[in-house]
């Protein structure tokens, strides 16, 4: 664990000093702020209208009408920016020659991968916490349900964690950061839209396509439904990404 933390600390430092990470986080915060402000404004207008029609009053819910769409919008931004955060992780080490330092040190490849992964997770977590801070006002002055908010946040975090695992994998396959980013983005987009094909599929394949879709599992969590299937899906995604990274690095050295 100490070795993982050594790598994680160094990676965190690189994230903080790297202009790419700063710009990426800043863009995410600005966009999230915009989403919160506009959804809030829309919800206020809606509240005034609903107040005059008691029939709809009970269906009027900030969790459903602000937080769920907010998490969805944020997840789309994550899809775009996570590849930019992860593209550097191994591609840069390979390009500048520092991988020889890492792989000739008494650290295991798994420790190096986990250190880098942990650092990126912490950046993601910090970014999500900062981005959702303004939502605190809703809790301060209103009474939204906490649990659906937390499951939504967890969903966003798990989705980001899965994106990072795939990003690390593609970063380990090349020394070109742009190539790594494009491959990550393309693959994530495919996992995002794969359930479009399930509309025309049936039986076993429909089940498979629905299960593989990233979005399908996210929907449940934003609705406040904490289903272990969804959590297991994201954790499997993470495991697979990291496992493939390990395999790529080992196979390159054995070739």
């Amino acid at each position: 664990m100490k070795n993982i933390w050594t790598i994680a600390k160094k990676e965190l430092r690189s994230h903080i000093t790297s202009p790419i990470a700063s710009v990426v986080v800043a863009v995410f915060l600005v966009l999230s702020g915009f989403f919160i402000a506009s959804l809030n404004r829309w919800f206020n207008v809606l509240s005034l209208q609903v107040a005059q029609t008691p029939t709809y009053y009970n269906q009027h819910n900030i969790n459903q009408q602000v937080f769920a769409p907010l998490f969805h919008n944020m997840s789309i931004v994550l899809l775009l920016i996570i590849p930019l955060l992860t593209m550097r992780l191994f591609a840069e080490e390979k390009k500048i020659g520092t991988e020889e330092l890492l792989f000739t040190s008494p650290l295991s490849v798994a420790q190096i991968i986990l250190g880098k992964y942990l650092a990126s997770l912490l950046v993601l977590l910090g970014m999500l916490i900062l981005a959702t801070l303004p939502v605190g006002f809703a809790f301060l002055f209103g009474n939204p349900e906490v649990l659906p908010f937390l499951t939504g946040f967890l969903g966003l975090f798990l989705m980001g964690a899965a994106f990072i695992a795939l990003g690390i994998f593609f970063s380990s396959t090349t020394e070109n950061q742009i190539v790594a980013a494009v491959l990550t983005f393309g693959s994530l987009l495919l996992f995002w839209i794969i359930n479009w094909a399930s509309a025309s599929a049936s039986g076993f394949w429909k089940g498979v396509l629905d299960y593989v879709s990233i979005l399908q599992h996210f929907d449940n969590l934003t609705q406040g439904i904490l289903d272990t299937t969804d959590v297991v899906y994201y954790l499997s995604f993470v495991f697979l990404g990291l496992f493939l990274t390990h395999a790529v690095i080992q196979s390159r050295r054995w070739r």
């Binding site: 500048i96 020659g97 020889e100 000739t104 040190s105 054995w254």
Partner: protein, 308 residues
């Protein structure tokens, strides 16, 4: 200290290192010499655990590098050909990171960083970002990271490449200052580096071992005659004629800076040569042994294909 036996590395069809065997004794500086693409870097990468070998065994400090890679990595310092530096770190931050990665216990890390900074003369730049220091200092940082955990064995891949002459001299004297305490292998294709820095040499070409041993041993092995270069004060053509009749002298030929005299190993007709020069009134400005230099040695071994 370092023993390599039957080491072979194949990249698909390409054989980078072929059945390589050599030994380096403790406390010595040994050169791994060969032309570009001879297999030097591959050999070093295998010894450091960066690459696995296809066949063969190797041990460092008595530890098998394939069975106990982590133990070997703890006693081994490595400077790769491409300096493994993070440009956005300061020299001190970088060395502290390497110390942690090399598992120097945390209470001793600060001391380890200071010691390697002192040894490699980095005091004036230790607070600067690596991206902003000169090539010579970057090379020193590379060597400092290889020394940080006080390794018993140091492997340096082309340690003076890309440096200016003054920096080359500095780095060579730094490497020489490490002699005795540590066993060092350095790779180079610069012949002078071997004569000026190393106790012995392993010469490889196209992945094969061509020769290995101390410089004296190798020179003796390929030498077929002894001789001297003689500079006379006047009339060297006539002097050459007179010296041909000296007993034991096989050949006298004009050389770039005097006369080249050769005789069979074991004979030493130098007294008689000087006497005849003085008696004949040619005078003597200089006589120096015709040492087989490293260039001759290298060319004979590599281009002649002589396996020793």
């Amino acid at each position: 200290m370092i023993a390599v036996s039957g080491l072979t590395k194949k990249y698909g069809e390409l054989v980078a290192v072929r059945d390589l065997s050599f030994r380096v004794e403790q406390g010595k500086i040994w050169g791994l010499l060969g032309p570009n693409a001879a297999g030097k870097t591959t050999t070093m990468r295998i010894l450091t655990g960066f690459l696995p070998a296809t066949e063969g065994t190797a041990s460092v400090g008595g530890l098998d590098i394939f069975e106990k890679p982590n133990e070997v990595k703890r006693i081994l310092g490595y400077l790769p050909e491409i300096l493994p530096l993070y440009p956005d770190m300061t020299v001190s931050e970088y060395l502290a990171f390497v110390a942690a990665v090399k598992q120097v216990p945390s209470p001793r890390r600060r001391e380890a960083v200071e010691k390697s900074v002192r040894t490699t003369g980095l005091d004036t730049v230790k607070g600067r970002l690596i991206r902003n220091i000169s090539r010579g200092y970057k090379q020193r940082v590379g060597i400092a990271q290889a020394l940080i955990h006080d390794p018993q064995v140091i492997i340096l891949d082309e340690p003076t490449i890309g440096l200016d002459p003054a920096q080359i001299i500095e780095i060579r004297s730094l490497i020489k200052s490490l002699r005795g305490e540590r066993t060092i292998i350095l790779s180079t294709h610069i012949l002078a580096e071997v004569t000026q820095t190393c106790d012995g040499v392993v010469i490889i070409n196209e992945g094969r071992l061509m020769a290995s041993g101390s410089l004296e041993e190798l020179t003796a092995a390929v030498r077929t005659s002894d001789g001297a270069i003689l500079r006379v004060r006047r009339d060297s053509a006539a002097a050459a004629e007179r010296l041909r009749s000296v007993p034991g002298v096989d050949a006298v030929s004009p050389a770039e800076d005097g006369l080249r005299l050769e005789w069979k190993p074991g004979l030493d007709p130098r007294d008689e040569i000087v006497r005849r020069c003085l008696d004949g009134g040619f005078g003597v400005l200089e006589m120096r042994p015709l040492a087989l230099n490293i260039e001759d040695l290298y060319l004979r071994i590599v281009t002649g294909g002589t396996e020793q």
